[in-house]
């Protein structure tokens, strides 16, 4: 795809503004980015308000290849489509049916987890599993088969999906379930929006006795201690996660484990956040010294905190959501995430090697997260979680230096037969993706020819 061709198309998309008869319903926007904010190329974009508009948008001549996207919390290019056009699903945010007796919810794909919680929490239900931000759409949760702190119990989001509504090009509307369309169902869960436009999602909620959690925090001094804590908590605690200090290679950190409190109010979160990062921080703010100091401070804070406390679900699951657009802390050049999973049997070699490489590079990761995955399989063919240990890191984008470090990390992950999380990725080599997601060819076969993403063009070569 050449740059000139795309720009010519973009100009065509601007015509409605000039007062001519609209030839396309897409407009060109240069402020559409993914959460990492590295790729700033313009995107052709449209946001339908009703499902009946989708057929025309999918067939729109502005580009042959569309991609349904949600709140764009994916960090890299899996929610971007410079080579095509984006259909923003966030206007399709209606609940379709909610049964407070059985805990079944069917909603349009653009409804956010945040909105769903407002409705389900007061009736004693929660999501079966939740990622670390509530600003994720249900369609995005399916398309990325997201996981949470309770993966060892609940599996990934796809494990709780009962049915999906899929619109494919040519106007075919399908209801996908394990039984009726098993192949397309499995290809769509974790399928990065490539099998068609996900119109709605029906899934099973989890009952909660209260909206607060009893949280225990335990500092650890080494990876061995982390694995011991994780192993002993699997049966006793529904939610586990650890923060790890990557500025030193000792593997020190803080382990938290939590259960829903047996009694307490069923109060939904306050949907207001006054704290916003209003502008890009200058690039030098996050440097080796400041990140080191932050990690030191955070480590001491965790040690000081009592080992037990009661937290609201939003404080426990979504601490970063309290500051809107925190990604701007990383400055105008943006940031990159690196999340890998290392299968059991390889962790004692691979994780120390990863931490050593990161500490040596001095490319300090601000917040690094460590968690063990359980063995509950997901129906999704491109699902990321697999039994083992996952490590998530973010790095300010310093161009080649950051990419070079990530390539060195790749080598360790490949050696360990691990995998990288597509939702976090904007740079993994095609070969690495294809090796670690052996079912990718099945998905490629079931992919809708009218759907594509920058990520897929890159990794399916």
């Amino acid at each position: 795809m050449t740059e000139t061709l795309s720009l010519a198309r973009c100009r065509a998309a601007e015509l409605p503004d000039a007062g001519c008869a609209p030839r396309t319903r897409f407009i060109r926007r240069d402020d559409i980015v993914s959460w990492g904010r590295v790729d700033r190329r313009p995107q052709l974009w449209a946001r339908p308000a009703f499902r009946d508009e989708l057929d025309a948008l999918v067939a729109d001549p502005v580009s042959r290849e569309k991609l349904g996207v949600g709140l764009r919390r994916s960090y890299g290019d899996s929610c971007l489509n410079f080579g095509g056009a984006l259909i923003d699903a966030t206007g399709l945010d209606r609940l379709i049916a909610f049964d407070p007796e059985t805990g079944r919810l069917r909603a349009e794909a653009g409804a956010s987890i945040s909105e769903a919680l407002q409705v389900i929490v007061p009736r004693g239900w929660f999501l079966p599993t939740t990622p670390g931000t509530r600003f994720v759409t249900l369609g995005g949760a399916v398309a990325n088969d997201v996981h949470g702190k309770n993966h060892h119990r609940a599996g990934s989001f796809g494990s709780s999906v009962a049915a999906l509504g899929l619109l494919s090009s040519g106007g075919r509307r399908l209801m996908l379930t394990q039984e009726t369309e098993p192949d397309l169902f499995r290809a769509t869960i974790g399928g990065l929006g490539l099998t068609g436009f996900i119109e709605w999602v029906e899934f099973r909620l989890a009952p909660i006795p209260s909206a607060v959690l009893d949280v225990e925090t335990a500092p650890f001094e080494s990876l061995e201690e982390f694995w011991a804590l994780a192993a002993e908590s699997v049966d006793s605690h529904e939610h586990t996660v650890a923060w790890i200090d990557c500025t030193t290679n000792q593997g020190r950190g803080a382990f938290t484990r939590a259960n829903w409190a047996a009694v307490g109010e069923l109060a939904p979160h306050k949907d207001r956040s006054s704290r916003v990062v209003p502008f890009d921080f200058p690039g030098f703010v996050l440097n080796r010294l400041s990140v080191g100091a932050f990690n030191e401070f955070y480590y001491r804070l965790q040690k000081m905190k009592g080992t037990r406390q009661r937290q609201s679900y939003e404080a426990y699951f979504y601490p970063l959501d309290s500051v809107r657009s925190w990604n701007r802390l990383y400055g105008a050049r943006g940031m990159r995430q690196y999340q890998c999973v290392i299968p059991w049997g390889e962790e004692r070699v691979a994780l120390p090697a990863l931490l050593g490489e990161i500490a040596r590079a001095g490319e300090a990761s601000f917040l690094a997260v460590l968690k063990t995955f359980g063995d509950k399989p997901s129906p999704g063919l491109l699902s990321f979680p697999r039994p083992g240990t996952t490590l998530a890191l973010d790095f300010p984008n310093r161009g080649e230096a950051t990419l070079a470090l990530m390539s060195r990390l790749d080598a360790i992950v490949r050696e360990a037969k691990g995998a990288l999380y597509p939702a976090k990725d904007g740079r993994m080599p095609a070969e690495m993706f294809q090796l670690s997601f052996p079912q990718w060819e099945t998905v490629a076969r079931l992919k809708d020819p009218a759907m594509n993403s920058d990520f897929w063009r890159r990794v399916s070569r």
Binding site: P22, R29, D31, A49, F50, R51, D52, G91
Partner: protein, 249 residues
């Protein structure tokens, strides 16, 4: 929080601003009659409101621009067992250059935004005055505060509606019922989706929804939404024409 669920009729119920307000009322267990042209869309909105806690939500398929306001409100009041709130949201933005080329299209826009809306407002006000309670809430626009070359036809329709609602508020003031004009500024809705760059002044429909709920119970006859538009429009109104005419606003 009142004990009896509110009975609410929404005119133009599939619009983003209407939905934002209705969702807040739904949480309180309100009962809805949703008036609009597209039955499938209204069904989708109704299901959403029921899932969020509405005691009931039923579509009423009608073209607000031509429907019989008195009869429609009467039948809605019958089916809901009364009426507490009428929210008028429908309206067309139009394309200014086309409205200038084709005065007939401009007349049609005025017919929809002002003439037909005035009929609904009077019908609702008569009902509320009789029952000595109820709130008529009408969506106007900051565009009605000063005629500007870029959208004066739309602005005129909303200005006319504003004076009408102002008069109704005066008339109803002794009855216990109320009439309020909401003047939103820039709102991120499908009506404005074609505008690519949205600056700091753009509000989400949810913010307008909150202003509507507030206006249903308290405050003066004109509510700007968000509130800071009152200040902005005061300045815009006072700019002398000799200077204003040099701008392209």
């Amino acid at each position: 929080m009142s004990a009896a669920p509110k009975r609410i009729a929404i005119l133009g119920a599939a619009s983003a601003i209407a939905v934002a307000a209705a969702r807040l009322w739904a949480v309180q267990g309100a009962r809805f009659a949703l008036v609009g042209r597209n039955g499938d869309r209204l069904q989708a909105v109704a299901a959403d409101l029921r899932a969020r806690g509405a005691a009931s939500a039923e579509p009423v398929v009608a073209d607000c621009a031509s429907a019989d306001a008195v009869a429609t409100l009467a039948s809605i009041a019958d089916s809901l067992g009364g009426l507490d709130i009428v929210l008028l949201v429908y309206g067309a933005l139009g394309e200014q250059s086309e409205l200038e080329r084709d005065p007939k299209a401009a007349s049609d826009l005025l017919q929809t935004n002002f003439v037909s809306a005035a009929g609904w407002c009077l019908a609702a006000a008569n009902r509320f005055e009789r029952q000595r309670s109820g709130a008529l809430i009408v969506i106007g626009s900051v565009a009605g505060d000063r005629g500007r070359q870029s959208n004066y036809v739309y602005g005129a329709s909303k200005a006319g509606l504003g004076v009408l609602v102002q008069g109704l508020a005066h008339r109803l003031s002794r009855s216990g019922a109320r009439a309020v004009l909401i003047k939103p500024g820039f709102v991120n809705t499908p009506m404005t989706a074609h505008i690519a760059r949205k600056g700091l002044l753009w509000a989400q429909p949810a913010a307008i929804g909150q202003a509507i709920l507030r206006a249903a119970v308290k405050g003066g006859p004109v509510a700007y939404a968000p509130f800071y538009w009152r200040g902005i429009m005061t300045i815009v109104r006072w700019v002398p024409a000799s200077f204003f005419h040099k701008t392209k606003l």
